[in-house]
Symmetry: C2
Subunit: 366 residues, 2 copies
């Protein structure tokens, strides 16, 4: 694990980029890489991954398969990932052969909610009040300190609302701890926020940082529904959000694109960081059609050691996720000249499955 930026010798076109994970983020990263002349090698346990359709090669193997990982590492010039739950051992094994970007520190921080919140606090960034929970006894003590309502979350492997339970006035704590499988957890105070915003931020091997304008996120069934840019916040708040994102990415000596989710507390005028995603992020998909350089190209530029591109926005945008059967409406979106349809090539529209998204573009208002 290192805190110093790797060498900034840029990868030449034709170089090979390894991507852990074969879903839609990997697919969009592979497309962005192809446009810069790179070719991609996808590594994931699932057969026929969406990203495999746009990559030069695909390895279908477990993240615990050391010989497959070694062959993968030897076939590429840099490794990146589309998801934060890359096993630590896999990352370390790969790193012995080839640069892994954003890098183990970012992974370790983002994989563990307790570590993440501690990092934020140490960086001087406001978070919800939190306490570590390893036992029912811890949980009782934490609830006594933090109060109700609050949220009990597993430290690891949670996303899209999974691995968490709300502690309400009448919630039985023993049952709640059972519900998350008695895993190491964190209790977080409930933040009475007005809106969620997120900032997509990138840092290059030269240490330069580029932040996109904040987007405003609306969730449905714990899954991102829309991101709207500009967010309905003041310019000062937008600038503050971008500054927080810049500060965090610098503190992590991060290489690549990162998503920073924040709560905006209107009454107090404050921003509270909720989560860091050490990867391209669903709330940054609007950059594909609203900016000169998308988050996907930006990530590839960063991990390839290229200078970052311009994150300037040339349009207002609203990203709408197509979840499950939403994707069946593609014809309506295809007919709307202001809509840019992005579909992931997934064969089955299962409920809750991210099938695609639509970016609706409007003239720039600010």
């Amino acid at each position: 694990m290192t805190n110093t930026p790797p060498s900034s010798t840029p990868l030449a076109p034709g170089a090979r980029i390894g991507i852990l994970g074969g879903g839609q983020l990997g697919r969009m990263l592979a497309v962005a890489a192809a446009e810069l002349g790179f070719n991609c090698h996808i590594y994931c346990p699932e057969e026929n991954p969406p990203a495999g359709e746009v990559a030069a090669s695909t390895t279908c193997a477990a993240y615990e398969d050391e010989s497959a990982l070694t062959r993968f590492a030897e076939s590429v010039d840099v490794v990146t990932y589309e998801f934060e739950n890359v096993p630590e051992k896999a990352a370390a094994l790969l790193e012995a052969h080839v640069p892994v970007r954003p890098g183990p520190l970012a992974l370790a921080t983002a994989q563990d909610r307790l570590r993440e919140k501690t990092f934020l606090r140490e960086a001087g960034i406001a978070t919800a009040p939190f306490a570590a929970v390893s036992s029912l006894e811890d949980l009782k003590q934490a609830v006594a300190t933090i109060g109700r309502p609050s949220i009990l979350k597993t430290r690891r492997f949670g996303y899209d609302g999974k691995g968490q339970v709300k502690i309400e006035a009448d919630t039985d704590l023993a049952a709640a701890f059972e519900e998350i499988g008695r895993q190491p957890a964190i209790l977080e105070g409930f933040v009475p926020f007005t809106r969620e915003i997120s900032v997509i931020v990138a840092r290059g091997t030269d240490g330069k940082i580029a932040a996109y304008d904040p987007g405003e996120n609306v969730h449905k069934n714990h899954i991102l529904h829309t991101t709207t840019v500009p967010a309905s916040i003041s310019e000062a708040t937008a600038a503050e959000a971008m500054e927080i994102a810049r500060k965090l990415i610098g503190a992590l000596s991060y290489i690549g694109v990162m998503g920073v989710e924040m709560f905006h507390l209107e009454t107090e005028g404050a921003l509270v960081v909720n989560e860091i995603a050490p990867r391209v992020h669903n709330s940054g998909h609007w950059t594909q059609d609203g900016c000169a350089v998308s988050q996907f190209e930006q990530h590839i530029r960063a991990i390839a050691g290229w200078p970052l591109g311009d994150p300037a926005r040339h349009a207002d945008a609203q990203m709408l996720n197509l979840i499950g059967e939403d994707a069946h409406n593609w014809q309506a979106f295809a007919q709307d000249a202001k809509c840019h349809v992005h579909l992931y090539g997934k064969k089955q529209a299962r409920p809750g499955r991210k099938m695609g998204h639509v970016n609706r573009i409007r003239a720039l208002t600010r």
Copy 2:
């Protein structure tokens, strides 16, 4: 061969698009198709084609290999191509299994310079004066009628200045006819043009037509060097050029994107059509960064039976081709925030080889 548009039932996401040809145009088409949720099958004789790196499958076989062509046709829902010299027999064989778009009429017209010029004349479009040449005797007669300077071109398989010889005041006609291999040819009068422009135009299965703004082309060593938009022509001339392109694409009952090259004769204020390319065209690469919908997405939308996208331009643009060792300058372009670098993943930068292009974007002036 049919003149009526095929059924307009749109292909659903997940459908398979076959592309004949594995070069950079096929690569950029495959990327555009992937973004709409399609997956691509590349067919070409060359091994390891640039397009294969971004496609779900690749068949490496000759265009004369009937059993490979049949298997290819059976594996896809529609076939398109990145180059106009698809053998007639291959197109007919594929068409027996699956729609081939733009279609045989467009191919047959564009493959034969005599047929193309005759089509243009019959459509009431101005061309350079021309005459068919099958023998040295024909050539002598044609030169007597059309005069010198003029240009002798093979009817088939010419591109980037290949297969043609200029007939100057002192050119020996027998030697010139030898030089083009005594093939069936066409003599074209020399047009004293001020500039070359081109219009990228698309037509959908519903018969709707969308034209992009004309670009102004500058060649170097007979290869496109830059395309600049807007072209330095009046708005009336631009409108006329777009109208010519619309007329031609309608007359061909064409499905897909087509490039129409025209000469602008400033003194006479006239436009003369030089060539039709029945495919996405190098002079339309600026649309990737200057328009909401690129020529590549537009072509995929058209051949998939989707409604066409909006060809509106949101920026001024200049496309610069990176030929051979030009591509070694990628670092300089990567550092310029206004430049969008597109590289094709080709391993060797041979002289004259198209390695990539750069779109430089400026604020819209008109």
